[in-house]
Amino acid sequence: MNTMNPSISAEAAEATGQKAAIPVTEDRPEDTVIEEGKTVGKPFIDDPKFKLRNVDVSYAGDRAIKNISLDIGKNQVISFIGPSGCGKTTFLRCLNRMNDSIDICRVTGQIMLDDEDIYTSKRDVVELRARVGMVFQKPNPFPKSIYDNVAYGPKIHGLANRKSELDEIVENSLRKAGLWEEAKDRLDSVATGMSGGQQQRLCIARAIAVSPEVILMDEPCSALDPIATARVEELIAEMSESYTIVIVTHSMQQAARVSHRTAYFHLGHLVEVNETNKVFTSPEHELTESYITGRFG
């Protein structure tokens, strides 16, 4: 793969249609040239849940993700960090094929969940999303009752045969999301009447109600206050025992607090992946270092 001259930027090569170099300036670390497909640190691990190889995503020809290869470990929390527009969310949404609904989006490369390619045409998206749940940036409960929000997933997948089973699933999910005590007396009230933090925990409860193996979280705390954020972070730590969690975040402290591994993205490239403490204490790539020390972002 890596046949390109290391000093050549991929964008420039695309823009001009030939290989051209962009000068590196000391003052602007974001201009540092990244070699396509080359990730420093430890992108690959043993026995991964997700195995991604040479993933490329483009929107109507514009490449948003450039040749990324990465392993995501079982029952681990991995956080994606990086400046705005670097492709973290796009990459995350590939993992449960949420990009399918965007007509102009094209995904190439291999994304394997438990050694099965999720992007083959005969792969059922509905089944995939039952296994890979998602929590979105803005809390988005259905405008229905709290109970119906949590019960919706199990209902459509036929996970409960009786009302009592469904009740049990709802209670367990709300308990796991730390919302049971607050919500048990108002299960029939409309979910959109709750506070932002409660809504987001409800969305987490809704995601875990279908017992997924992986939960994708797209900046789950960006719309929450610090106290609600702390609750969600606690929750992530608890959940990591039984779920594989992929979290996109803009807060480096959050990444440091909740995740086992951290991946740093830059302009569609995956620059560095490593154990979280290594990334934050001794980053190998100069861009990572610049970002986590706050020189840009």
Partner: protein, 424 residues
């Protein structure tokens, strides 16, 4: 420092100008609304001012003696005799008795004070109560439509030309004695159309409108919503769907009379469906209403936030489940509002129905979708083109009824939008 003060002064000056502009703009807006409202007010005052008399009927109360000699009737239980008997004579005798000044020669003039259908009413009453034969009874009949118009517009010479001066004097006398009286026109709401304005009502037209609207709603709502869902959620975005979209908008702009011609050519001539029936009317109005419903339904679907779709997809709902469980319930208030407005348009539509023959003279209210019928706006059209003054005021009254229907439908649409609209 001076630069800054100068700049502040400049800002202050431009601020004044901005506020002036704003005030002017607001004044234009208020002016526009005032114009629209006053036009509406003039319309209402005119229609109600002309039409309220149509909601009143004039009756005449007479002491009718059912004299066998006058009526040439001995046995009121014998249908053959009843058929041959004279039921007009006792009415004239009664009127003569009520007006002592009248002579033999005034018979015709007296007869024209009473509604022509009064004799029929008398016959029906006697058939039901044969024991009345030979007695004298106080009975109330509808007055002649000329008397009706005269009584309601007393003092206005334009409305009295149909009565002779003698008749006018009689009517004035009877009004004074309370024998000629006006009351609420229940006949208008319980009768079909009639050649006699005093007996004419809108029941037939209302039932016809109702039947037509049922067909329109049953056809256009499901088809329109289904088309909107398909176009918005499932159809690929390509040239074909673009072409369809443009043509739906074109369809919305087609004059309604064209749809009437289409209905005539296709449904009546080609498919051989009967003319003048609510079914064909409903189908034609469906064609006219569909674009409105499709366009408003698509807007309603578009306004469902994508986050809700994503949330449903995120827990593994299929495309169909996302649409049926989430998008459709959330878009429903908007869809229904659009449909009601479309239906209100259809309810007031006249032109296409004229072409498919729903302009017939219908006395009996239709009993089914394939019964000859007319609709409210067409009834208004029929009556307002009549030369008789009594019909003109009934047309105005029918307009009031039509407007009441339209406004309650629009009110329902607004109420539903307020009530069912969800916020997130």
């Amino acid at each position: 420092m001076t630069d800054q003060t100068q700049q502040a002064e400049q800002v202050r000056r431009s601020l004044k100008q901005r506020y002036r502009k704003e005030r002017r703009f607001r004044a234009y807006g208020i002016l526009a609304i005032a114009l629209a409202l006053s036009a509406l007010a003039v319309l209402f005052v005119d229609i109600i001012g002309k039409g309220y008399t149509g909601l009143m009927k004039t009756t005449i109360t007479l002491e009718v003696t059912l004299d066998p000699d006058v009526m040439y009737l001995d046995d009121p239980t014998d249908p053959k005799q009843v058929r041959m008997a004279d039921f007009v004579a006792p009415l004239i005798v009664a009127a003569d008795k009520a007006l002592p000044g009248a002579t033999e020669e005034d018979q015709d003039a007296l007869r024209r004070l009473i509604n022509p259908y009064a004799s029929t009413e008398l016959r029906e009453a006697l058939k039901k109560n044969p024991q009345w034969m030979g007695t004298t009874r106080t009975m109330t009949f509808l007055a002649h439509s000329n008397v009706d118009v005269y009584v309601k517009h007393q003092g206005d010479t334009a409305y009295s030309i149909k009565l002779t001066e003698q008749q006018q004097a009689w009517v004035d006398d009877l009004v004074e004695r309370g024998l000629v009286d006006t009351s609420f026109n229940d006949v208008f709401f319980t009768n079909g159309d009639s050649r006699d304005p005093a007996k004419a009502g809108i029941l037939g037209a209302v039932v016809g409108s109702l039947l037509t609207m049922i067909i329109t709603l049953v056809l256009s709502f499901p088809i329109g919503v289904a088309a909107a869902i398909y176009l918005e959620e499932f159809a690929p975005k390509n040239r074909v769907t673009d072409f369809i979209e443009v043509n739906i908008n074109n369809l919305a702009a087609v004059p309604s009379i064209i749809f009437g011609l289409l209905g005539l050519a296709v449904f009546i001539n080609l498919f051989g469906l009967p003319r003048s029936v609510p079914f064909v009317g409903g189908v034609v109005l469906t064609l006219m209403t569909l674009p409105t419903i499709i366009i408003s339904s698509r807007a309603a679907i578009k306004s469902v936030p994508p986050s809700i779709r994503e949330a449903a997809q995120g827990v593994g709902a299929s495309k169909m489940q996302v649409v049926l469980h989430h998008v459709l319930p959330l878009a429903m208030p908007g869809m229904m509002t659009g449909s009601i407005i479309g239906m209100a348009q259809a309810l007031g539509e006249t032109a296409p129905l004229l072409l498919i023959g729903m302009v017939a003279f219908i006395v009996e209210p239709p009993t089914g979708f394939f019964d000859a019928a007319t609709v409210l706006p067409v009834q208004v059209f029929l009556w307002s083109s009549s030369p008789e003054l009594a019909f003109i005021e009934r047309a105005s009254a029918a307009i009031m009824v039509l407007l009441a229907f339209l406004m309650s439908m629009n009110g329902l649409a607004i109420w539903m939008r307020r009530r069912l609209e969800r916020r997130w």
